[in-house]
Symmetry: C2
Subunit: 515 residues, 2 copies
Amino acid sequence: MTDQDRRAHRREARRPGAATRAAGVRPLEMKLPLTEVLAPDGVESIHRASMRLLKEQGILVLDYPPARETFKQNGATVEGELVKIDEDTLLHFVKQAPSTFTQLARNPANNLTLGGRSMVFAPVYGPPFVGSLDWGRRRATIEDFRNFAKLTYMAEHLHHNGGTLCEPNDIDVKERHLDMLLAHIMLSDKAFMGSVTHADNARDTVTMSRILFGEEAIQQTPATLSLINASSPLRFDDRMFGALEVYARARQAVLVTPFIIAGAMSPSTMAATLAQQNAEALFGICYAQMLNSGTPVIYGSFLANIDMKSGAPCFGTPEDALALYGGAQMARHYNLPYRSGGNFTASRTPDAQAGYESASTIWPTVQAGVNFVLHAAGWLEGGLIAGYEKFVIDLEMCGMMARYVNGVGLSDEDFAWDAYQEIGPGQHFLGAQHTMRHYDTAFYQHKVFSMDNYEKWESEGSQDTYHKANAVWKKTLKEYEQPPLDPAIAEELNAFVEQRRMEIRQGKPRTEWTR
Amino acid sequence: MTDQDRRAHRREARRPGAATRAAGVRPLEMKLPLTEVLAPDGVESIHRASMRLLKEQGILVLDYPPARETFKQNGATVEGELVKIDEDTLLHFVKQAPSTFTQLARNPANNLTLGGRSMVFAPVYGPPFVGSLDWGRRRATIEDFRNFAKLTYMAEHLHHNGGTLCEPNDIDVKERHLDMLLAHIMLSDKAFMGSVTHADNARDTVTMSRILFGEEAIQQTPATLSLINASSPLRFDDRMFGALEVYARARQAVLVTPFIIAGAMSPSTMAATLAQQNAEALFGICYAQMLNSGTPVIYGSFLANIDMKSGAPCFGTPEDALALYGGAQMARHYNLPYRSGGNFTASRTPDAQAGYESASTIWPTVQAGVNFVLHAAGWLEGGLIAGYEKFVIDLEMCGMMARYVNGVGLSDEDFAWDAYQEIGPGQHFLGAQHTMRHYDTAFYQHKVFSMDNYEKWESEGSQDTYHKANAVWKKTLKEYEQPPLDPAIAEELNAFVEQRRMEIRQGKPRTEWTR
């Protein structure tokens, strides 16, 4: 090692997050018994109801004849745009999906297990707006997108980069997927999600993954995980099934998620809602297996409910929590990885309501053993706002959950016999040797929440969490440094993006790109 | 019925909360499987560790020789102020405690079951301060106490009046228990807690209960439930054991609760903390049974942890949640009703932190199946502040929990077959007959939280939850009407209180009062 190398090495070691980057961010491993809300016969009832829906009602497959053809060839009944499928045919394909799989990240230490007892946290997905104490709410830009990519990279308790962190409205909708993918790849070294807005955009995602990892690597292990929403009730369209087809054929992972606001996109009762969700999720998963047996999939749930009086969506409700747990039981019934939950709220700012509702989602999320937790940080106003302050506040909860899942230690050291020998009845343990040994690790250490008493808090300006968090995200962005990427790969990615941008602007068909 | 009666009847029916008052406020019945964090051998390890603590370390019983004498006579070893007891002796007495019991309320519809699957919510207990958007924080007065008694009475989702709703600092400490008891009895018709600040105050509580219910009634079914704190670690004092003795001999229920901030009053590891809590709770319960076999008791837990760096208490942490669940398993192991949790926070105002921390306590509380939930509404700044706005915001969570515990319905109606027949794939369910049938009951209906979109919210003044709740508690107090009480009983209670007030002011010994 030359002196220059040593200096560089020391500089690297001092960089914020350097230790995390080297070690990678490991997903949570849920070591506790999972909370369940359905008895085994409840799971069976919901299974049977969903099989009946698929056989008798069927699923609308809109504007995408190839999918209907695929279903037909594999034993389903097609009536116009309606596809009906029986239990045996469906389960024959569903069983071909792996129960766990790995997703590649460009830092191999950040490769992720999806399924089993693994829990992966990813940031908010999809908001057209960004929110902050500084400006309230405004339309998101690519600058905001990049900021959230940086904040995600810096976050110790986010294991995955997510996808559409916010909509970069200042870039044409036809080409913005390129800028988003480039930001994910360049600004972070965690795993990321692909574009689903068009089959061509999915192809671009696959091509960029090939450039980054190589064709063979992504054939063996998916480099992207992409969100395929059902347009519930009982309906998929060409946009989503088109993207799904591209990904399945390229052996990239898909997250099939019915999008249900109960009372509107499903009946207002949770049993029916769970049955419908089950039918829709399994239908999409079945299609992925028909296209390419063994395609890695996740059984998805995005489930909220309407406010009956106003029709507005509600989040963090008791009904949503029950459905979240029930959905987890259904996914486990089919041996599939499960996506659900996050830190949801209907509130527009990170106020008390946002705190109660978010915690009321993330606790069931973790206790249900959800494998992929999208929207774990930054979600406001029912997903319309990516909140800067909300993002860093939610990370506090993610950090707490990372400790919770480890449960209660029961070693001799945990029973602290030496502490009782040292400290007699009636005396405090603050100075005990045992307490000193556990000083750094005993309890979760807060980053944003304040334990200050009223006097200290008042003397420092009576800042609530919203104000405190404002300083935190700004400091984090200031400390951000881009993770290095092989210049040859960076150059090739940039070249591809510029070529595709030209093609899109000129209205030319997509050129197939091969390395 | 005369016309006058009819008018009175109609007026009564229109009074806010009249329906609730007639029907009573029923405790929650937890119908879901309980969440557990300890395997059976974990429960056994903690049991064994606590038996070792009781036998080898012992419990300090300070300034109360009669208690040490009682333990000695019943087979414990007394060394100075230290009482050591073996497993067989301890469990012999613990087993005499009932697994469930009823507490009387002056409205018989509000009588409560404590134990089993019943969950009772009670308001915050003990804060010296009150907080509001209007004034920040100030010392509490009897007027505040009465306000919280009224708010509790009006609260659909509080089943119990609690005890020291806040400290009435404007009344001399020697007599304020009288004013608090009178407020509980006069302003509400729900069950209440007794005074524990002195054995004489406990006697006053028992006397007032006798006046209200009659001697025989309270001998059969306790009229009060009183909070006996251990002064942890491994210590009880004359104040608490003096009050416990009065209550046990009068067959009134006691809630034996170690008061533990882990890292200070216990080691910083949760296994040791749970073992110590178990030792302390069982020791107090054992004492109650030695005094009067069959005395109704609750196994209590008040458990938070310190911030290692500042020494400040933390609330809503992952460690606290684990301990809450673990404590529930221990209480069930001995077949005892369990008290724990609430809506805890270290925050000084109802901000996002307060929301996250409170929800992070109430979810584990409910999922652990806690039977008596003190501090379910109003808690701020680690219990130093009874917050007016926090109180009504917490009620929102209590209301959600009241729905959560019912689980997922699985009847034919819940599967909504007619809705699918009516509404084809791709159509929304808003106007379906099935949705209309469930319009009023389908989902939790929010009282404080707002589902308004950003535009509506902004046009109405961008109020956060703190501001919204400010209007709610004021409106509730305005709507309050005192529940009628037999004038003869009211007169006798007032006479007793005035007599005792005189005795206390004149420094005279307590007169035994018999009806």
